[in-house]
Symmetry: C2
Subunit: 63 residues, 2 copies
């Protein structure tokens, strides 16, 4: 499987937002995440970096 975990980065700390993400779509000042369990989450953030090698998505909060 090729999914990744999404973290939001605030003040240098990374907090897990969603595990098993396999779809990401920026929507204005939010990012839509969808995971392998069929859950969706709309996070007020932008994509900071995605590393498919580490299976890691870093989101930066938008204000």
């Amino acid at each position: 499987m090729c999914e990744a975990n999404a973290y939001i980065k605030r003040d240098g700390h990374e907090t897990l937002v969603m595990e098993g993400v396999f779809v990401l779509r920026p929507e204005g000042d939010k990012v839509l995440l969808e995971n392998i369990f069929g859950e969706q989450k709309l996070v007020k953030a932008e994509i900071g970096q995605i590393s498919l090698m580490e299976h890691k998505i870093i989101l930066n909060p938008t204000f």
Copy 2:
């Protein structure tokens, strides 16, 4: 391996930009792509959608 192919979408047509991408990082109105061969590409685009299930990254050109 968990890398994806990146395509740019213009007028409904998808053109392959880079194969084997494993790092993506938005940088202003560009997106930095890095692949498993150590190549980097800075594309004048924003992330449209990423589907890790299909191993597919869709970029939309910025103007």
